[in-house]
Amino acid sequence: MAKLRKFKEAIIEKLIFLSGIASIVFVALIFIFLLREGISVLRSTSLGAFLGGKFWYPISDPPKLGILPLILGSLLVTLGAIAMAVPLGIAAAFYIAEVAPSRLRNILKSFVEILSAIPSVVLGFLGITILVPFLKRFLDLPTGLTAFAGSIMLAFMAMPTIISISEDAINAVPREYKEGAIALGATHWQTLHRVIIHGALPGIIAAAMLGIGRVFGETMAVMMVTGNAAVIPNSLFEPVRTLTATIAAEMGEAAKGSPHYNALFAIGIVLFVISFLINLTADLFLNRSRRR
């Protein structure tokens, strides 16, 4: 009987082990697959011409496969979104964690969750029917389909991530810090911005990085409102084409094995590497905040 139990336990242990390493295996498999399909793009273009080329005409003969405008488009939209979402998100987190009365806090928290549950295509739909015409009229632009419209959409999507994780970080600041500051005669505000913010900073930075990751990989809403013109943007108020939107728009019709198909997978590698770096940075900061 004891033997059977031992056997059972060994099996369960192995199963749990497998589940545990599953995500590592998946990530590795995905990367290998991307690499296998994407690396052949180097047969039709050089690495420099791929990453630094200014023109994206994938179905012409010969194709022009330069993704510099796409990389810059993605970065610009992300930067714009972060510039809006990070200050707002952190301020909201402080309000929810430290200032709001407890009933209001619960209501706010559930609304933040609802915001994160809105499908991106719905936000995109609202963007194209309301935000885009509004931006055009309000800012007197040639068209409202701009990087700025994309940034606003993405700011909405990044806010819930930033708020929830920052709030956790603020709550994780040891109570003694706050009590000590108040005992020394500091006001609530002084405690907040001199003491708590320092304790929570690594967590807040991690929240911002995860928000960036969320924004960078978002596709649908961005594709609907940014105009998707593959030009190198000079400002936030011009149309851009992002890496993700390019894959989404063109994958369906790219002939398997063509330079275009390989180039789309290579874009996938670029996205993968950038997202990986963003998440790695977030993890580093998150670990530091937990160790305190």
Binding site: K54, F55, W56, Y57, P58, I59, S60, P69, I128, T129, V132, P133, K136, P142, T143, G144, L145, M223, M224, G227, N228, A229, A230, V231, P239, R241, A249, E250, G252, E253, A254, A255
Partner: protein
């Protein structure tokens, strides 16, 4: 009794698996299959036809795939499809290849494709020549003022590269039908995910110019009359103008078969020509031939 149960169960399962399908499909009715392949522009049309055709001929299994006109014609030559959908006529080279394999192309013009160029209703520009369109969409004319309009920047709206409309517009307007030409849309052209998105943006933005299949024409956008060259008259994309080939941005859509169609192939082509088939043409934003 207990021992009988599995036997009964087994019998029941047996009946479920082997007898039911037999009774569902009455014997004697052979099922046929029909492979249709070719133009990406026509893939939706082909699928809509196939669905409606299937409603009448439930025993025929119709498969429609895209890949491009050339792919479809090659498949017809290789005998891997029954009907090739094509948005261009077969080329001399293809006819020779087909002859070598003993295949004779039979061409059926089943629909027409007309692309309307549209601007905002408040834009005073009414007429453009093909050359002007080419300069506009290549990004060489950047303001409506140059064309005699108001001082508004021109915002170009195009479909995504995977759209047959995009490819047709590029080959026909920008490259003037020349195969080896290298002209491209201006990189600043906005790539819209659908004809609906183009229609919306044109209706909301007075700076824009866009193009879409004729089926999308509505009073919320103004249709431009186009002339082949400076000497020719300006023609609006009406059903009549496309049918008589007076409107310059249009093309016939073909179904190709091997020899005179027979059997199921003939039934399908007759269906495409029928009243119902031509209504489907209209619904999928192409121009019926009758």
């Amino acid at each position: 009794m207990k021992k009988l149960c599995p036997a009964v169960l087994f019998l029941g399962l047996f009946q479920l698996f082997f007898l039911c399908p037999a009774s569902a499909a009455p014997p004697g009715q052979k099922s046929a299959s029909l492979q249709i392949k070719g133009s990406d522009t026509m893939v939706n049309l082909g699928q809509a036809w196939a669905e409606a055709f299937n409603a009448i001929h439930s025993n025929v299994n119709v498969a429609v795939t895209g890949g491009g006109s050339g792919t479809g014609i090659a498949a017809l030559i290789n005998g891997t499809c029954d009907i090739a959908e094509s948005s261009r006529a077969v080329e001399e080279k293809e006819i020779k290849q087909a002859e070598a394999k003993g295949i004779r192309f039979n061409q059926e013009t089943v629909a027409l494709d007309g692309i309307a160029v549209v601007v905002h209703p408040s834009n005073p520009i009414k007429n453009l020549t093909m050359d002007q369109l080419r300069e506009i969409f290549m990004g060489n004319i950047k303001n409506w003022k140059i064309l005699g309009g108001p001082d508004w920047p021109i915002v170009l709206l195009s479909r995504e590269v995977n759209s047959g409309t995009h490819i047709f517009f590029k080959e026909h307007v920008l490259r003037r039908g020349k195969k080896k030409a290298q002209e491209e849309f201006s990189p600043g052209a906005l790539m819209m995910p659908s004809s609906y998105a183009i229609a919306e943006e044109v209706a909301n933005n007075e700076n824009t110019i866009g193009y879409y299949g004729m089926g999308y024409i509505s009073p919320r956008q103004k249709v431009i009359a186009v002339a082949k060259d400076a000497q020719s008259p300006f023609v609006e994309p009406t059903l009549q103008a496309v049918r008589t080939n007076a409107y310059p941005i249009s093309r016939p859509l073909y179904l190709y078969t091997n020899g005179t169609p027979k059997g199921v192939v003939k039934e399908f082509i007759d269906f495409a020509y029928s009243k119902e088939g031509q209504e489907i043409v209209n619904k999928t934003d192409f121009v019926p031939i009758k």
